[in-house]
Symmetry: C2
Subunit: 453 residues, 2 copies
């Protein structure tokens, strides 16, 4: 074990956030001539690309999460702190935590983004987003409660609203959610109910641009849309959600306005920078883009603050006038590793080169045997793409402890087409099919002193 | 699909509760000449014997749960209803649900039991019990938050309180929890922290009787206690908890009174019948025992109500002056199957024989390679007992969809000694290490507007 004196002689790198950017920076600094503190308010790293599988009842939260201490415990120079950062003072190089301070020599901010409702934060209750484990379990609860409520509903209009699922946003998350819910309705749950036919469910994917997966090559967007339609999803592009009220979604497509009654509305559109962006703006004079992301220098540092770096989704990195890099895991991983290397280079007295993103390609999954893959010039769809998608994800999970279980779980689901994790849990886990006076989704039903079952 | 007319001609069996008793009754009535409705307020069957593994971070809730519709969907004569029962009217043979009624010909009540605090229900917040998935996740959260809080605590006394785990009740659940927490502290988490030595944790198992596992043969209780001590648990028998206040447990052993400061207190003592017991007392004149369980006739029916049966933990079945059967899964399974068979026999005009419990033996696990097994005259301990315990549980899980995953998970944990599911989640998942003015555990820390990490 390194003594305190020895440790304090080493430069102290503080990393805020244990997502892909922060975690890979920490790993790359493991057992190096630095002292590292990784701060996260959660005690685990979340493999976010698979979070939609938790939301739709295929995987459990622990299948896609790894305890940060478990991953980093072996590096004796790394301390994990389950804490919250409230402020930063670049002058004195101090980080403010709840009730105490922490000195740093180098600061890496990797706090990511959350959902953005385009100024309509009150839609959040009706249309939850998907960023945390709790978000995923809430989505899962709503999806499965909807089928239960439909089963009990005698009014055909209300039943239709319970069987209508609106997914707002046609990016990878929206496409994955829509595909998974379609598989639930048209396959997994088909024989489970007595009063409803789950294949009557309507799954509507709404996208503002002219195609789903806008950042992907157009022909793959086309293939993805076709695959969604095959699965039973209604894809509606060039459509904007202008209102969500009383569980009615107002959708504007050109001049046409639709009112869609839907009890389950899922939000997969828009990102907003985490609050650390604003903190860096105020304290370090950082420039933010419209989404609140921090504009970084070519070496990912905050301009005029060579000891403060921003990596991952919170960083706005635009290389020579190009579009900013997308908020995906590979960018965050490469940026985290880059900054770790840069710190080593500075310690060694060598001059670092600017960050360059090595784009290995894009992947999105639509359903069983349905995926789209764009690897540089190679474009694939269907079962081959699906297997590439599976193995790409397993490859990333390999580094932690979950690979085996998740692979088995997928194989199992693949052959049985089953979804074992469709539990309705949480504090409002009683079938709260009640709709309040305004017709809104009643998140927690009033307790009518029922008998404990 | 059976038509409504055909269905209504068949006797309608209503089962309340989807635990072991209710589920096995339903399965045994599947595809028979009855119409069956199974009511549960949850949408899944919970394999409760493994719930402590969810509480201690080895398994996920979905690993030990199976959607009721998934299990029963193949039986076309069974309808699953996610609902709550509020009352029953034996005169008109009606069951009252939230906002509607249901007619029955035969009623099977299998609503189980919850924890009992011996009249001290206010201890519940400080010392949660273990019956539901939510209970398990709350225990898990507290156990892992305790280590995180200890890591941050500078005061030695407070740190000691965070590293003290008191388990009240030395039955199978208490023994399993104590063993699992000891394995966490002395093994899994050993290298994870920097400021604390987790092997300094104190795990205290308190039992009122003169030995742990009181219903088991005395020599096995002795072996279990020895195994617990080997794992690092302090076993204290003939001790009663007389107060829990300000996170101090008052324990009385003979004339000696101890005050134990402990931030994590887990309740594994005492059961209380679910509210359906009281309902049957009021409506059907049922006699209840001291725990509120329903005294049943030799055929498990409520006296003078041959069409109302009680099975599982809620039933008090004492065969010819013997002690009542214990509240364990095999009893509930056999009782559920028995009542299903009795219904078939009545329909066939044959005379049922009284219920007889076929006791295959008792099992309890203490830790890795440590278990005790009493099979009729055969008594086993150590690794052999542990493997019997594993396979007995896998055998029960086989009937549903979880066997494979859980087996793999166990194998994985067995070889790696890892616990991947040690996530701190839930609404109060922020490190709420704050203790309120009275020194009590602050379940939800006041939000100090921290930065989103």
């Amino acid at each position: 074990m390194v003594s305190q004196a020895e440790q304090s002689a080493k430069p102290h790198v503080v990393i805020v956030g244990g997502g892909f950017g922060g975690l890979y920076a920490a790993k790359a600094l493991g057992n190096s001539a630095t002292q590292v503190t990784l701060i996260d308010k959660r005690n685990f790293h979340l493999f976010q690309p698979l979070l939609y599988q938790v939301a739709t009842g295929t995987l459990s939260p622990a299948d896609i999460s790894s305890p940060l201490r478990g991953i980093l415990g072996k590096y004796r120079n790394i301390t994990v702190l389950m804490e919250e950062v409230t402020d930063v003072d670049p002058e004195s190089k101090k980080l403010m935590l709840r009730g105490r301070e922490l000195d740093y020599d180098t600061l890496i901010v990797a706090t990511g983004v959350s959902h953005f409702y385009f100024g309509n934060d009150h839609w959040k209750t009706t249309a939850p987003g998907l960023k945390t484990v709790e978000d995923a379990l809430e989505m899962r609860r709503r999806i499965f409660v909807a089928f239960e409520a439909a089963e009990k509903e005698s009014d055909p209009e209300n039943r239709k609203a319970w069987l209508t699922f609106v997914i707002v946003g046609g990016g990878p998350t929206g496409v994955e959610l829509a595909g998974a819910i379609a598989e639930l309705a048209f396959n997994t749950l088909k024989s489970d109910f007595r009063n409803i036919d789950t294949t009557e469910a309507k799954i509507l994917l709404i996208e503002g641009m002219d195609r789903v997966l806008p950042p992907y090559p157009p022909e793959l967007s086309q293939k993805a849309a076709e695959a969604l339609v095959r699965l039973g999803v209604t894809v509606q592009t060039q459509s904007l959600v202008t209102n969500i009220e009383n569980n009615i979604v107002t959708v504007k497509q050109g001049d046409e306005v639709q009112q869609i009654p839907a009890q389950t509305i899922l939000w997969a559109a828009g990102v907003k920078a985490s609050a650390m962006g604003k903190v860096l703006e105020q304290r370090a004079g950082a420039k933010l883009d419209r989404a609140g992301r921090v504009m970084v220098d070519p070496d990912l540092s905050v301009p005029e603050h060579p000891d403060i770096f921003v990596v991952g989704d919170l960083a706005h990195y635009a290389h020579q006038g190009e579009k900013p890099l997308p908020g995906v895991a590979p960018v965050a991983v490469q940026q985290g590793k880059y900054v770790a290397k840069l710190i080593h280079q500075r310690l060694a007295g060598t001059t670092p080169t600017p960050f360059r993103y090595d784009d290995a390609g894009s992947l999105a999954v639509i359903g069983q045997n349905e995926a789209v893959v764009a690897l540089k010039s190679l474009k694939l769809t269907g079962a081959i793409a699906w297997f590439i998608w599976i193995f790409a994800h397993i490859y990333y999970l390999i580094e932690f402890d979950n690979k085996l279980i998740v692979m088995i779980q997928w194989m199992w689901n693949y052959f049985t087409r089953n979804r074992g994790a469709r539990l309705i849990t949480g504090e409002s886990s009683l079938v709260s099919v009640d709709v309040d006076a305004d017709g809104n989704y009643a998140a927690a039903a009033p307790n009518k002193s029922p008998v404990e079952v």
